[in-house]
């Protein structure tokens, strides 16, 4: 059984006088011991909320959490506050995005590191200090004894993130959740931090839930990747599987949006049009439909379910998955011609009704073609 098994996690924000916001609606994934699982998606798709729900850190008021999250057999979502506290920091740990704001500005680093040792490992005084120093040393902070006395603002960004990691790994947690741990950092520093995380996973066998919007980071680090869109997993696959054959149009589009350092220059990017605001509720159909180039009427017939159109274990929540062959080629084939982009975008941005772009593009013929290609590919794969 998986170390962490999230099943139909749902988080709804309720606020008086406002419509309920379903930030996460039925997310399921597993994390195994020693495994790195990625959670990717654009801003606002529910990544952080998922992680906070797992940690029990969502605000106590105005939030409804549903589903199950079994961690080593216990449901994290129904755990009492006290027991959750015992788990947090010792079995479950988390690293946050912004290392500066995540550290208490008025408390020395040393205290912030030792307090967790005191809490979970009953280390006090000199023993705690020594252990803290060795932790800092382990995450690659030079001169740890001096750093322990310093305050967060005296440390550089990378160093702060290392300190946060030191705290997270202080009690050798079994599951580490990293919520965009490198987004605020420079690439050279990001590389250092990623390397450090990798090392930790390798050495300790810690399970890592990596949350990021950077597909490059995922590509280098994760074993299993879940792509989130508007609070639902739309695609879940092993790493190579996903990057080679992104099957959900969104995942596919995402990959097409990224300028690649190693790709030849001169080609325009193939972005997904519109923005994450242009969604419909999952209850009405596929939330991605308004931005999708493949959308058909079926897309609006209730929430699409996760299927495995390409390969077992490669789950995709799509009625019309992208199933053509080689990744690069496939990416190109499903995108609209560049000159159509602005118009389509305008439609998505609010001129919707008369912007008939999406409808027109849902050309059955084209769809069929794609589907045929997909089937062919499927057969070939099998």
């Amino acid at each position: 059984m998986a170390l962490l098994s999230v099943d139909e996690l749902t988080v709804t924000f309720t606020q008086r006088g406002r419509r309920d916001v379903k930030a996460v609606s039925g997310v399921s994934f597993d994390v195994d011991q020693g495994q790195v699982v990625g959670l990717v998606g654009e801003s606002g798709c529910g990544k952080s909320v998922t992680s906070l729900a797992l940690m029990g850190l969502l605000p106590s008021r105005g939030v409804k959490v549903g589903g199950r999250a079994d961690f080593d057999g216990t449901d994290l979502l129904t755990l009492s506050g006290r027991r959750m506290r015992d788990l947090r920091g010792s079995q479950l740990a988390m690293i946050f995005q912004d290392p500066l704001s995540s550290l208490n500005p008025v408390v020395p680093i040393g205290v912030q590191v030792t307090e967790i040792l005191t809490r979970h490992r009953r280390l006090k005084g000199e023993a705690a200090r020594k252990e803290a120093a060795s932790l800092l040393d382990r995450v690659g902070i030079p001169d740890p004894d001096r750093r322990l006395k310093e305050y967060p603002h005296q440390l550089s960004g990378g160093m702060r993130q290392r300190a946060l990691i030191a705290m997270a790994v202080a009690c050798a947690p079994r599951l580490l959740i990293a919520d965009e741990p490198t987004t605020a950092l420079d690439v050279t520093i990001q590389a250092q931090i990623l390397e450090l995380l990798k090392e930790l996973v390798d050495q300790e066998g810690t399970a890592l839930l990596m949350i990021t919007h950077d597909l490059g980071v995922v590509a280098g680090l994760c074993d299993q990747v879940n792509v989130l869109y508007a609070g639902k997993v739309v695609e879940s696959a092993a790493r190579r599987e996903l990057f080679e054959a992104p099957t959900h149009p969104y995942a596919n589009g995402l990959l097409g949006s990224i300028p690649r350092l190693d790709a030849p220059r001169g080609e325009p990017l193939r972005p997904v049009r519109g923005s994450i605001n242009d969604t419909i509720a999952w209850e009405d159909g596929c939330a991605f439909a308004p931005r999708c180039d493949h959308y058909t009427l079926e897309c609006l017939q209730g929430t699409p379910v996760l299927g495995e159109p390409r390969k077992p274990g490669h789950q995709v929540r799509c009625v019309n998955p992208v199933l053509s062959g080689g990744a690069a080629e496939l990416r190109r084939s499903v995108l609209p011609e560049p000159d159509e982009v602005p118009g389509a975008d305008a439609a998505a941005d609010g001129t919707g009704p008369e912007g008939d772009g999406p409808v027109e593009k849902a050309d059955p013929a084209e769809k069929d073609a794609v589907e045929t290609a997909g089937t062919a590919e499927k057969e070939a794969g099998a």
Binding site: I280, D284, L300, A347, A348, D349, G352, P358
Partner: protein
């Protein structure tokens, strides 16, 4: 086919994002939020009632505020006061004047003091702060110098307890309603000046100012057209809160014997200060004006706080 078009229409409908608003400026948004705030509504109601009373009060007051309805009823030296009765709803004061009429007329004086004082503080303070802020935003050595000198003076004024400052001014000007207004108003000047300058300074460093400069917009226009309007909201909030402060401060001046002594222009602060002497035998004479002051100040404070929330950029969704 019809189901298909239906579906398409529906999608289009869904996609045509929820934003139906077109061109709601921040002021409009703030106004919308303000309307939704309970605090604002209560505050506005209080203020509304107060303003109405202040405007029509002197017209509807059944008696002149100075008329002594004598008839041998009130004897201050024997503690004989007249309480509420049919013809004098709130009774008679220590000189047998109709308390109700005095409260009504007093509302106007109190409001007048509040508004004029705040207006004075606001205008001068905003001018000073605005000039200083603009000088800073426009940059240059001269600007910084001007700012330094002006802010020194403002700092000096801030260093004095407001009441003492007001008292000092009242001492020079002699006792009158105008004095109270000026004294209370002057006290507010440094507050407004600092606030506006600070806000302008903060706005001056923002990206849109840089963007305007990059566009080649003239500096003066940047200062007045961009920085100033964006710096006004804390000042406006302060002005509302200042109305409350001004009313309370005026009452304190009255208590210190620097209030407007003219009985024909009764003012709640003066009435309260005077009535305290008869508190044992006629407590209501003190409680009416005290309540008047408290409730009115509360109204302005509530509205001010609500405005602060409505205008807070952090709460802007």
């Amino acid at each position: 086919m019809s189901t298909k078009t239906d579906k398409i229409d529906r999608l289009a409908e869904l996609t045509a994002s929820t934003e139906t608003s077109t061109g709601a400026s921040l002021w409009v948004e703030a106004w919308r939020r303000l309307k939704g705030s309970k605090m604002a509504v209560i505050g506005a109601c209080i203020i509304g009632a107060f303003v109405v009373v202040a405007i029509v009060g002197p017209w509807v007051a059944p008696y002149s505020p100075t008329a002594q309805l004598w008839r041998g009823e009130v004897f201050t030296n024997q503690n004989i006061f007249v309480g509420p009765r049919a013809e004098n709803w709130l009774g008679l004061d220590h000189l047998a004047r109709d308390e109700f009429s005095r409260m009504l007329v007093g509302a106007r004086q109190t409001l007048l003091v509040g508004i004029v004082a705040t207006l004075l503080g606001f205008t001068i303070g905003a001018l000073i702060g605005g000039a200083s802020g603009a000088a800073l935003v426009l940059g240059g050595k001269v600007g910084r110098r001007i700012d330094t000198v002006v802010m020194r003076v403002i700092d000096i004024m801030l260093a004095l307890p407001s009441l003492l400052l007001a008292v000092s001014i009242a001492a020079v000007l002699g006792q009158s309603l105008t004095t109270v207004m000026i004294a209370v108003g002057v006290v507010q000047i440094p507050v407004f000046a600092r606030l506006l300058r600070g806000a302008m300074l903060a706005q001056g460093g923002s990206d849109y100012v840089l963007a305007a400069r990059a566009l080649g917009v003239r500096k003066r226009r940047i200062a007045l057209g961009h920085v100033l309007p964006n710096s006004l909201s804390p000042v406006i909030v302060q002005a509302t809160l200042s109305l409350a402060t001004a009313i309370i401060e005026a009452a304190a001046l009255s208590y210190l014997g620097l209030g407007n002594p003219d009985a024909a222009e009764p003012e709640w602060g003066v009435m309260l200060a005077q009535a305290q002497d008869y508190f044992d035998s006629a407590p209501m004479l003190a409680i009416y004006p005290a309540l008047g002051i408290i409730v009115t100040a509360l109204g302005f404070t509530l509205l001010g706080e609500a405005m602060r929330e409505a205008l807070d950029p952090k709460l802007r969704s």
